[in-house]
């Protein structure tokens, strides 16, 4: 089974104009890949469906905007994959 990173990278490549080969574990979804907020909604929808979870993107954004968390925690690909794996594990627990 593909890793969470690979699945998310595939989703981003299919949902946006970003070539799959450009998406690396260190890519920042917004700063490096140029995904805007509306495209990111489509990506989150696809992730929700693929993993059977509800990505709490609203609370993540609030945490970042409030300065409580760095954006990299949620929006760098390897970290995003970790967050998704955590959500999947929490759902299965």
């Amino acid at each position: 089974m593909a890793s969470a990173f690979d699945q998310i990278a595939d989703i981003i490549a299919e949902t946006s104009d970003v070539p799959r080969e450009k998406i690396t574990p260190d890519s920042h979804v917004i700063d490096d890949l140029g995904i805007d907020s509306l495209d990111f909604l489509d990506i989150v929808f696809a992730i929700d469906k693929a993993f059977g979870i509800k990505v709490p993107i609203e609370s993540w954004t609030q945490e970042v905007n409030a300065g409580n968390e760095p954006a990299e925690k949620f929006f760098v690909m390897k970290n995003l994959a970790t967050r998704i794996e955590e959500l999947v594990a929490a759902k299965s627990a």
Partner: protein, 146 residues
């Protein structure tokens, strides 16, 4: 655009809308051959979806249309057509929601689309008040003053 809600629950809404006999829209779309513009049919589907989401969220959040996919306009719509509008929840996400909506008339499919909405706390009290008032007018919710 929506005149009356026939039924609603957390997942689905059925509503109706009557295309007026006369409208300034028809002066240009099209002279001598009045048709409802596709963008207004899309707006009608978005409004039905929006009312579904308002009802689902208990008027806690306002849905704003952010995307439309797989939009197909299958049949011309002329003045005085009674439209049956159905919207169903596809996904209730974090700060967004996705619906599928369709319009038919006399059992004939007119258009359909998958719609995405950003959902936000009401940015203005006037907007919330107006949405609640409109919801009462179309029968989405009961009149709290009654």
């Amino acid at each position: 655009m929506i005149d009356r809600v026939r039924s609603v629950d957390a997942e689905r809404i059925e509503a109706e809308a009557l295309v007026p006999r006369e409208s300034t829209v028809f002066e240009g779309h099209f002279p001598g051959y009045p048709l409802v513009p596709g963008v207004l049919l899309l707006e009608t589907m978005a409004q039905a979806s929006g009312y579904l989401l308002l009802h689902r969220f208990g008027f806690d959040r306002m849905p704003f249309l952010s995307g439309a996919k797989e939009t197909k306009f299958r049949t011309f719509v002329t003045p005085e057509t009674r439209l049956e509008v159905v919207a169903e929840l596809v996904h209730d996400g974090s700060g967004y929601a996705v619906t599928k909506a369709r319009i038919s008339a006399a059992g004939k499919r007119i258009c359909d689309a998958e719609l995405t909405f950003r959902t936000l706390p009401f940015p203005a009290k006037e907007l919330e008040a107006e949405m609640r008032a409109q919801a009462v007018r179309i029968g989405l919710i009961g009149d709290p003053a009654a």
